[in-house]
Symmetry: C2
């Protein structure tokens, strides 16, 4: 087990406090990050219907998934085997009315909770509209309450054990960036550079191995440096081009993402100037990210810095980060952007991502930061400025 019993007790207590606030007796949770957070279950089975069911009263959570994944759940989740169950295989991926959530409904009914208020996520990719329809139709006497992001909000402030895993992930991130700076040079194929980056990410350090990331390494070079989410290609790097990498070391599902930019050959003036502006903005933003401050106020500091240089950035500059499963390592709660009034607390963690994408080029630098008792600190240690390979 990665975490001890006290860690899970605290997580469940905070989640149940949230359930009580929402007035729900049962929570059905299908987000793999939330399932991992509540139970330790860690399997690549989130492409099919599955759920953790949590009752408001003190008891172990219940895991329900496919028979194929039962052994994996028994090996990773903390609960007794009686609370780890498989739905019948003939409910799986059927074009007709059969659906795994009918089994989930039956188990809720069997526990005497068929007439209670049940919390569901309305915006969870892993609990589709069909899943919701199948569950609600099978529990005609229940009332359903939108509990989107309830567990995500509990995850905002990290425990010391979680911070320790993010520190481990940060050590791997440092190695990923070292591989990036090392392997990219004129004549090398993008796919071969990406291969070394993947290798560093998976190998980890001599003390601990790496886990898979919630997003592939985004390697955007040359003409693609103006894009944010494309994949590497077979193209070879050339002289006089820019390469941006966004990637994350991962340890037991905890991420520490980072972006850095490299230039092959003498960098153009516009890139050097952008580097100076963004680094100034990064320092000002880090200095402003103190506990007690609202997210939107921190973003306003960044906005003020780049405005002095005639620049604007429409998208948010940070989002909370921690546990991640594909396709996203963002927690979908607090963001540094106008309108977000979330107040910073110690041990919140954010990916502070200052990407500036122009029509046909880009520059990106980011840090995963931890809010401390007095300010904010970058979790990985990699020189921040534009790297030049001459």
């Amino acid at each position: 087990m990665i975490f001890d019993a006290a860690e899970y007790r605290a997580r469940l207590a905070k989640t149940r406090a949230g359930m009580a606030r929402e007035g729900v007796d049962v929570l059905v949770e299908s987000d793999p990050a939330n399932m991992f957070y509540l139970t330790g279950y860690d399997g690549w089975s989130f492409y099919i219907p599955q759920a953790v069911i949590l009752l408001l009263e003190d008891s172990e959570p219940l895991w329900i998934g496919r028979g194929l994944d039962l052994n994996g759940a028994r090996r990773t989740a903390f609960m007794g085997h009686e609370n780890i169950m498989a739905y019948p295989e003939d409910l799986f991926e059927r074009p007709d009315d059969r659906h795994p959530m009918q089994f989930v409904a039956r188990e809720i009914e069997r526990r005497g909770r068929g007439r209670t208020r049940i919390g569901l996520a309305r915006d969870c990719q892993f609990f589709t509209a069909r899943s919701r329809d199948a569950l609600t139709a099978s529990l005609p006497n229940a009332r359903f309450v939108d509990c989107d992001l309830l567990v995500n909000r509990v995850r905002l402030v990290k425990s010391p054990a979680e911070i320790a895993l993010m520190a481990d992930a940060s050590r791997i991130t440092e190695r990923i960036m070292a591989a990036f700076f090392e392997v990219v040079r004129p004549g090398v194929r993008e796919c071969d550079a990406a291969a070394e980056i993947h290798k560093a990410q998976t190998m980890g350090t001599a003390e601990f191995g790496g886990d898979y990331p919630a997003s592939i390494p985004f390697l955007a070079a040359g003409p693609n440096s103006a894009t944010t989410h494309l994949t590497w290609s077979d193209r070879r790097f050339t002289d006089n081009e820019v390469a941006c990498l966004q990637a994350s070391g991962v340890r037991h599902r905890y991420h520490s993402p980072m972006a850095r930019t490299l230039h092959l050959g003498r960098p153009p003036k516009r890139l050097v100037e952008m580097n100076d502006i963004v680094l100034e903005g990064m320092e000002a933003t880090l200095a402003a990210a103190t506990p007690g401050r609202a997210c939107e106020d921190v973003e306003a500091v960044w906005r003020g810095v780049i405005a002095r240089y005639g620049l604007t950035k429409e998208s948010r500059i940070a989002y909370s980060v921690g546990i991640g499963y594909p396709p996203d390592w963002g927690e979908r709660t607090a963001s540094f952007r106008p309108g977000d009034k979330t107040v910073l607390e110690p041990n919140m963690t954010f990916h502070l991502f200052l990407g500036m994408w122009m029509e046909d080029w880009g520059f990106a630098v980011s840090e995963t930061i931890r809010i401390t008792g007095t300010g904010a600190e970058a979790m990985a240690s990699v020189p921040r400025g534009l790297r030049v390979k001459d």
Copy 2:
């Protein structure tokens, strides 16, 4: 562009024929595999709301996504820039009523289709219940029709260009398996073996690079060989244990998955016997997979073979495969299992996966197969039997 104009014309025509059969005038498609199939758009942006909108009348599809991904869409989708649009950033990831699908609804309305029948996917992970609610509430005069898997069914039979990409992917799969057999030995950490597997997968061949897979490589060894979907760990391989790998080479989003099993040291009798039974079953199944036959009848042949040895297998033995994005490379249409009456046609492709998982050990072998004019052929060439490293 990966495909020529004629390829896209044929795909759109088949999709529109399906729309006509369902009686819908508009199709809203958010599955990234289907978006790629219809337009060529290939970006890791499927963690947020986005869609391709297809009208029944002949015209280019419309791509709507986030501003950050506009450059990526312009570089990968075949349509003119006027058919590639971003929704306003202030609709993105808001806890209130604002939602990107309101912009999608507006564009449907602007094209005079606000009072028509609109096809939506009810079981698509990338079109959440919240997305559906936001879209349907913004189009009060439309009627909504369940079009789950409409495009997936069009994808079942591959074109020659698609088969060529799957053949390329198969060359990469062969290299992945070579790396697996090479690197796994007593004393090596699982994460270091996984690192070499990732490297081979991403690097591809000297002629073409690899793309990222829709699922991580599943490396299940020793005590984990009884599980299907766990990740590698920091544990070191030991003498006298089994290691199963399921992984896929990928070329331009096309997959060719494969599983193989390796034993370190002299294999136990039960594993050798299982190998013989499963290989006999594989050959019988391949011989039975001829065009004109129903999927369930092919499965019955496999079932008959293992029954003679007193074995049963509850889960399906094959599923259609091709384009994939995380979290799944399965196409979610035809499967070899009881009740599936899909009739095999030339250039359908399946992942034929014969995994036998016992209480505390497992054995797995699989092939990606293509239905030919007369039978079935394995797309990659790797010796099939249990590999022994003595």
